[in-house]
């Protein structure tokens, strides 16, 4: 039997954003069970890459393969039904819906009520703050709590592949730590993760492999540990003098 294809593979992916080609033909692979990060400065095209993957932004060239199958340009909901989940940039919780309703939407594709209830309890155990406020609207939560909710909601679909878009953005250091602890825990459970981050140091510390993106192209790729010690990366992203 042939080896199983990587869970996510981008081949020469090009995505335009506002008339500008923000992603200029990148290759990126996320293997099963891997935690891969895509780091780079603000505006490098990281988020646009994810938008291209989930069909939120039209792809202008190249291929997105999910589980070996060409899914380029497919609407997001179809990918979600195949096991992909995403925590979007800016969290994207439904502010007028209660926390419970947000979680219910995370489990929209499932119909096993007992399993869903179990997962809600698990999410509440992981994030006790959410349990306290289960009937409040998500708009009343703090930024960090919304990030927790967005993560918990994404996990409700029991995804195989989790895409995280800047989960640490705008959060207090303590919250950032909590978010990354969660990322590691989810990864250990066997969920494949593609993590987009501006906080390069933290991202590389938790990841298996990393990609560095600069103005729409991948400039470096490799083992996360190696990237962490790469002098160019240290100078450009980790704030350490070369």
């Amino acid at each position: 039997m042939a080896e199983a294809p990587p869970l996510l593979a981008l081949e020469g992916l090009k995505v335009s954003y506002g008339g500008i080609q923000a992603v200029k033909g990148i290759d990126l692979v996320v293997g099963r069970g891997e935690l891969v990060c895509l780091i780079g400065a603000n505006g490098a095209g990281k988020s646009t890459t994810l938008k291209g993957v989930t069909g939120l932004q039209p792809v202008s060239g190249g291929t997105v393969r999910y589980d070996g199958e060409d899914v380029t340009g497919r609407p997001a909901f179809e990918l979600v039904r195949r096991g992909l989940a995403m925590v979007p940039e800016g969290r994207g919780v439904f502010g007028a819906l209660s926390i419970e309703e947000n979680l219910a939407m995370g489990a929209y594709i499932r119909s096993d009520k007992a399993g869903i209830r179990e997962d809600v309890e698990r999410a509440f155990a992981l994030f006790p703050r959410l349990k306290e406020r289960r009937r409040q609207t998500a708009g009343t939560l703090s930024g960090g709590e919304q990030q927790m909710l967005a993560m918990a909601r994404a996990l409700m679909s029991r995804p195989r592949l989790l895409l995280l878009d800047e989960p640490s953005m705008g959060l207090a250091p303590l919250m950032v730590q909590k978010v990354f602890e969660t990322v590691i825990a989810v990864s250990r459970e066997g969920v494949t993760i593609l993590l987009i981050e501006q906080n390069a140091k933290l991202a590389l510390e938790v990841s298996h492999r990393g990609y560095v993106m600069e103005s729409g192209t991948i400039t470096l790729a490799g083992e996360a540990k190696a990237l962490l010690h790469d002098p160019k990366i240290r100078a450009a992203y980790l704030g350490v003098g070369a």
Binding site: A76, F77, R81, G92, F94, A96, E101, Y108, G139
Partner: protein, 334 residues
């Protein structure tokens, strides 16, 4: 006092119908920010379809009680209207989803004209007299034998409307589909990331609104005893005003707006003659005093001005509280 009570009863009946129709406007607006001006025509098609069914059944002397015949009419009208609602969304509005907002608005007006004329071809341009197979039985509300009454048909309209509104609220706030509808209304692309097929949810919103509209059409036809291919235009515009009064996009608002508008209209119609009776001024004008001696009811406006009140309300709301009575609080949006 009896006139007041009677007009309240009439107003609530009418208001229930407005509320049910207004829900169709407000649901669609809430989810895709489109004012579906063709919704009034969907209501008209509901009334017309039920009319044909009722006429056919009574003509064939089907041994069914009158109430059952009207019910069958409504049950046929519902899927017909749901089909029309779906077709409108699928063929006209969906292709324009990303277009500037003026495009779907003009399309809606165009569709409304198209539907009117299709209905004219099918049901002729003449007013159709709705078979009054359910005998209207007045029930006295006070001891006064000439006083205010409520009829069995009015009670049926109020009960059916309240039941439909309750069912809709339960659907939107208690079911997974309802949560999905609210999620799509808030943020369609994030809803897609939950695995929600946005197009399906939007289409269902149209279909549910159309089903409510169908029943409203049957109620209007049975209440006034008349149906006409243009009946949806004014009714739709009034229901739209009701939705704006309550705060468009807000379900409870549409219900409140509908009821208020119905009552305002009924009271307006009941009192406009009395309030604009020029004979009150006859002490000041000799000519007027002479006329009023022979006819004490020289009024400026009569109850035929009842249609004006809905639009006066619409204008006042737009000027003084554009977000409507229960309009969305912006802070709720994350």
């Amino acid at each position: 006092m009896d006139i007041f009570l009677q007009q309240i009863v009439n107003g609530l009946t009418l208001g229930c119908v407005y509320a049910v129709v207004a829900l169709g406007y407000t649901m669609v607006y809430g989810i895709i920010q489109l004012i579906n001006f063709a919704h009034g025509e969907v209501v008209m098609i509901g009334a017309m379809t039920a009319y044909s069914v009722i006429v056919a059944l009574t003509g064939a002397q089907v041994p069914l009680p009158p109430v059952a015949i009207v019910l069958v009419g409504a049950l046929v009208a519902m899927p017909v209207c749901m089909g029309v609602g779906y077709a409108l969304e699928r063929t006209a509005y969906r292709p324009l989803r990303g277009a500037p907002r003026l495009a779907p608005l003009i399309t809606a007006i165009g569709l409304s004209i198209i539907l009117q004329h299709l209905a004219m071809i099918v049901w002729t341009r003449n007013p159709l007299s709705y078979p009054q197979i359910i005998r209207q039985v007045p029930i006295h509300l006070t001891g006064n034998p000439d006083g205010a009454t409520i009829t069995n048909v009015q009670i049926a309209i109020i009960v059916a409307s309240v039941m439909m509104m309750g069912a809709l609220l339960a659907l939107v706030y208690r079911t997974k589909l309802g949560i999905a509808m609210r999620a799509v209304a808030q943020n369609p692309s994030i809803a897609g990331l939950m695995g929600i097929d946005i197009n399906r949810v939007i289409a269902l919103t149209f279909v549910i609104g159309a089903a409510l509209g169908a029943v409203a059409g049957v109620m209007v036809g049975s209440y006034y005893g008349i149906a006409h291919y243009q009946m949806g235009a004014l009714l739709g515009l009034k229901a739209f005003s009701a939705a704006v009064l309550g705060g468009i996009g807000n379900l409870a608002g549409a219900m409140l707006g509908g009821l208020l508008l119905g009552v305002i209209e009924a009271l307006g119609a009941g009192y406009v003659g009395e309030l604009t009776n020029l004979c009150r001024l006859s002490g000041w004008f000799d000519a007027l005093a002479q006329r009023c001696a022979s006819d004490p009811n020289v009024t400026l406006f009569g109850s035929n001005y009842q249609d004006v009140f809905a639009f006066i309300v619409l204008i006042l709301v737009l000027v003084f509280r554009p977000s409507g009575l229960l309009g969305e609080r912006v802070a709720d949006r994350a």
